[in-house]
Symmetry: C2
Subunit: 390 residues, 2 copies
């Protein structure tokens, strides 16, 4: 008998109108509402809300929750929540919208109304306070901070009613909602499932993290983020090819599930690690792998900040548990994969290739060693980089 | 700050008289008591009691606890305990001993009085019932069952006062008590410590189990059993050499502790796995590695029985948690260590060498591949086997 962790806050809250007929009608009716054009991040967040991936949230945050999250890492209800989920609009647009009004939320890529929202709150906010509170820095070179400064001056909060999951289900056969992955895990009879968050192709270091997790759990859930990324991140379609060839050749089918989710990275380090954990709890995972500098960018966060933050919560605040793993690599003296914790040898004994070096090698048609990454994966990346350069 | 698990039942109960002067006097006084000559198993158990390794036991079991343990896997107090800890004597000896009498417990190897006991119970028992209840078999070919049939017909139960840890501290510099390992773990600041029980030299499959455990815990506690073993098991001094050379070359000193304990194997499969867990909780471990057929012998137990038994306990019965790991090996297609759970390839792709084959190879001076075992370890074993044959 399977006993999957409960959703964060207790109940899964998918905001997508499930009845198809009703959904279509409501979506059509929404044509008459004032339209808010979303950013790609907001589109992703609506779809996260639609699927229940952000449970227990029922919409974009109003002022009280927004401030409470930044200040206390908790919703006003006391439930743990690390990063505000917000909808920003310009002052001009804000002037045309009243409290209590229902507005239509539009995906600019498709022009589709993917949701509507009753405006329960409309408030200006201090960008610097949010940036410092969430990211620990006000530096606009930080991609998460930059998004705050690039967006409108006013936040709209309120309950969301979603009509669509946008282009994701069509674009990604691996798109799945929390209810769907829970059903998969249940059917497999898994109790302990380790989630692996990734925005990169998996090399052997990542594979090792997932294999260690699988050794101690019933299943591993490879769960790449496929919302829009930084420009220098590898596009999702290339990454999907890499994941699939790796899983086909090196993973046990009966202990592995690969699904994607549409969020955009905040690059928020420790606080984003907590968000990633909450999301994976909603997807039914008992554990989440938290490696070195999880969800970090540049040098904004300490190597273990994203692990240590989990020690600050009281029992019961999170059902999902972090699997805190160290930096991993192939060690020639160990004759196998190892980590800073398990390998007693020195730097010179290890197969270490920086991201820049890897990219250079692949661009030049040089295949890095199999100890670093699987040749099947490297070939896909080599083709990608060479297509960029040509 | 370190927070080590509590001892089983709450408090560590070392029965060794700590005050040296008092200890010497009591040991001398015990010369006047009726002497009970212990078996090697009973000597080991007295030393386990002396060190507090069997906490919360305060001596050998009386009838109520004995029967409760066999029938319910619990002491009469309700505390989990899987295998009776007993002192057997012949009918003739029993006739000379009265309830309430204090007796001296003698280690026949050294003739030392290592403890005394107030006889609180004296009872005959049914060997078949004990064998079937504890080992699930009455077959005398089972080494645990055989010991029951080889021993006396009457059990003595009562509180033990221990005076000595016998020859272990001298023979093994790695001998340590629960209080000592707890102090070590505390000093290292570890919270999560994975124990590895072993009665064999460590090959790469075992090393991998401990490394996986270390990836998810603060430290790994290699804890070989050095009480008398089956005749075909490898002697403790040879094994110690193997452990040391392995740890020196392949383990991080700052995350590994090697200590030994004096118990004798019961080869009791699932129930012994629980005993091993309780003991390691007393030593301060939060986790214990339970592999395939843990503490098994022959074909008496199913591969996963020793893992599944832990699912039968209610929350709080055991503070220590099993790390349930599968059968592990080097896989040439994986290009690394893997398990039945993480490797998708087939038997032919794996480096598998049976115990018999290994022994044959080593006896003939053939070095098995480094994917199977570290050359430093194999060399020690080769010397040992060749010394046997010569």
């Amino acid at each position: 008998m399977s006993s999957i962790v409960p959703a964060h806050g207790g109940l899964l809250k998918p905001l997508l109108v499930a009845d198809k007929e009703k959904n279509t009608k409501l979506q059509q009716d929404a044509e008459n509402l004032t339209k808010i054009i979303l950013t790609s991040k907001e589109v992703s967040d609506v779809i996260m809300l639609a699927a229940g991936s952000f449970s227990p949230l029922e919409g974009f945050m109003c002022k009280d929750d927004y401030e409470s999250v930044i200040k206390n890492m908790r919703l006003t209800s006391g439930i743990l929540w690390p990063i505000p989920i917000t909808l920003a609009i310009s002052k001009e647009t804000a002037d045309r919208i009243d409290q209590g009004q229902r507005v239509a939320l539009v995906d600019p890529e498709s022009d589709e109304i993917i949701a509507s929202m009753i405006v329960e709150g409309k408030f200006s906010y201090d960008k610097k306070t949010e940036a410092a509170g969430v990211f620990g820095t006000d530096d606009r070179a930080h991609p998460g901070v930059k998004k705050i400064y690039d967006q409108g001056e006013v936040y709209l909060g309120g309950s969301v009613e979603a009509y669509s999951e946008g282009q994701y289900p069509e674009k990604y056969p691996e798109y799945a909602t929390p209810a769907q992955t829970r059903a998969i895990f249940e059917e497999k009879g898994w109790n302990t499932i380790a989630a692996f968050q990734t925005r990169n192709p998996l090399h052997r270091s990542h594979e090792y993290l997932t294999k260690v997790a699988l050794e101690v759990c019933d299943g591993v859930f490879i769960h790449p983020i496929v919302g829009k990324l930084k420009d220098d991140d590898i596009p999702a379609d290339i990454r999907m090819k890499c994941y699939k060839v790796l899983l086909e050749n090196y993973y046990p089918q009966n202990h592995t599930v690969l699904k994607v989710y549409p969020m955009e990275m905040r690059y928020g380090g420790p606080k984003e690690a907590v968000l990633h954990a909450i999301i994976r709890q909603n997807f039914g995972c008992s554990h989440i792998i938290i490696g070195r500098d999880h969800a970090g960018v540049g040098n904004y966060y300490g190597a273990f900040e994203a692990q240590d933050i989990f020690d600050r919560f009281t029992d019961g605040e999170l059902a999902i548990k972090p699997l805190k793993l160290d930096w991993t690599f192939w060690c020639y003296k160990c004759g196998g994969m190892a980590s800073m914790k398990t390998c007693p040898h020195s730097k010179e004994d290890r197969c270490l290739i920086s991201g820049t070096k890897l990219r250079d090698m692949l661009s030049q048609g040089i295949l890095p060693p199999a100890e670093f990454s699987r040749p099947e994966v490297l070939k896909i990346l080599m083709d990608y980089y060479r297509s960029l350069d040509s």
